[in-house]
């Protein structure tokens, strides 16, 4: 390869890298200005020029060149002064100062003004070319960084908008969930209901309901899907949906049948080991007979006038463990002045940093000590006690429901 060919190639390479850039030349001597403009144009750059720093400031604002080359000594503002002004812009240009002498004092002044490079006059054209190539690298790197920053900011704001949307969806799902909980405290035959619901996050894995089946029977359940948050609440929605469906056999008055069917349909597609505990019952409000089927759920508490005792009903497996499982029901009578309290494990499993778990025994004692309270007041009292125990940082969903017979003396 001849040296001419090498030169042509390097010229082409220079063009390729410089021709996308714009440059503003500030030079008060017309002959010098023409010479340098021609030189820059021959490199393929997009060139504009002016004779003073004042003009340069105006031109800069309209043209926003990538690079500014300025003479040092000019009437009016000097090169370093122009440099100081331009470097205050939000995205300042790359600045090369031309200097007639190479004194250290001058260099310091130039560096302090913020110039990026210096070139002493008179200069050899190839030196200017090399300096411009260095400038081009830096300008392009800065552009690249600016583009990346813009892209990042853009992605960040999209992400934030998405999160805001998710939060809004969660809020509306939480409202929907609350709206599925019992609203009326009055049941058939003047039986009464008191409830309390405190999700640990927006959405809970707990859900409960109590409603009239016919003129003399009421059905109730409280279920707790493993974990909390979105996946758990979807599962509890699904189960609640099944239980409220017409195909659900509440009219059989057989809780074991209902739970066996519900369990047979339980699905855990991700194999996350998800399961649910459930207490489901049917009460005859004429006779006070209650049938309850338990699926791995905490035992209900029987509240009487002067005491609270934890029941010991037979329980089957939680839902979702064995889809062939046949559940049984327990049968007992709820006497006058007795109340049945159902709750999820979040009520007694909450931890105190020093004293550990609240525990079922403490729960029964708290109920016992407060036996003179009405069901609503008791639930209020318990949730206050639990808040104190877990120091106002909810660890699990808490659901409570008290069903009372008609003849209430408290």
């Amino acid at each position: 390869m001849t040296s001419n060919a090498t030169l042509r190639m390097s010229t082409a390479a220079v063009k390729f890298r410089l021709d996308t850039l714009s440059v503003l030349l500030v030079e008060d001597t017309q002959s010098e200005r023409n010479f340098i403009v021609n030189l820059l144009q021959s490199m393929g750059m997009n060139v504009s020029s002016c004779a003073s720093a004042e003009e340069a400031i105006e031109l800069y604002q309209s043209q926003m060149p990538d690079i500014v080359i300025s003479d040092w000594r000019m009437p009016g503002l000097t090169g370093p002064q122009l440099c100081q002004r331009l470097k205050q812009a939000p995205s300042p240009p790359y600045i090369i100062l031309l200097t007639a002498n190479n004194q250290a004092k001058h260099m310091v002044e130039g560096i302090e003004s913020g110039a990026d490079d210096f070139l002493s006059k008179p200069f050899i054209p190839s030196i200017l070319k090399v300096r411009l190539l260095a400038a081009a690298r830096i300008v392009k790197m800065q552009q690249h960084l600016t583009d990346q920053n813009l892209a990042l900011n853009d992605a960040l704001s999209k992400e934030q908008a998405y999160l805001a949307q998710v939060q809004a969806d969660l809020d509306s799902a939480a409202r929907l969930q609350s709206s599925l909980l019992p609203t009326s405290s009055k049941l058939t035959n003047q039986w009464r209901l008191a409830t309390r619901f405190q999700p640990a996050q927006d959405l809970a894995g707990d859900i409960f309901q109590c409603f009239n089946i016919d003129d003399s029977h009421l059905g109730f359940y409280l279920l707790d899907v493993t974990g909390h948050g979105i996946a758990a609440s979807m599962q509890s929605f699904t189960l609640a949906q099944r239980l409220s469906c017409k195909s659900c056999h509440w009219d059989s008055l057989d809780p074991a049948l209902i739970v066996t069917e519900l369990n047979a349909d339980f699905e855990d597609p991700e194999n996350a080991g998800r399961f649910a505990t459930l207490i489901l019952g049917i009460a005859n409000t004429d006779s006070g007979q209650v049938r309850i089927t338990m699926a791995g759920h905490p035992q209900p508490i029987l509240l009487a006038n002067d005491s609270a005792t934890i029941m010991s009903l037979d329980s089957g497996l939680p839902l979702g463990i064995d889809n062939q499982f046949q559940y049984q029901y327990n049968s007992f009578f709820l006497g006058d002045e007795q109340h049945l309290m159902l709750y999820s494990d979040g009520l007694y499993e909450c931890q105190h940093p020093t004293y550990g778990e609240f525990g079922q025994q403490r729960l029964v004692k708290a109920c016992s000590d407060a036996h003179q309270l009405s069901p609503e007041a008791l639930l209020h009292h318990l949730s206050h006690v639990i808040d104190l125990w877990q120091q106002n940082s909810p660890q699990d969903d808490i659901s409570m429901m008290i069903i009372s017979t008609s003849n209430m003396s408290i």
Partner: protein, 113 residues
Amino acid sequence: MKFSPLALENACLVTLPKEMIMAQTPTIRAAISRQIETGSTKLVMDLHQVEYIDSSGLSILISAHKLTQKHSGEVILLSPSAGVRALIELTRLHHVFTIFEDRDAAIEHICTL
């Protein structure tokens, strides 16, 4: 958490950590599922170190149980503390898992074809 191979090729002793609660469940579950998928279908879950377990911790045992059943394997539990045993009994899971107190007996059980 630690996986220790046993005499039988597809058997493994899994020593579970002190805490098995919500925050840890995804990691523990993934590790155990991988262990089962790579051929360890007979697991002894050693619970003696476990101090805290909640229902999501129990769900790890359940998913391991279901996954090993698909591969005709088995999960048994070893040495749960009184508190952990109480939770297992409350949720009736002692009807699903055989619970051993003696390490050698558990290993012998799982290594018997």
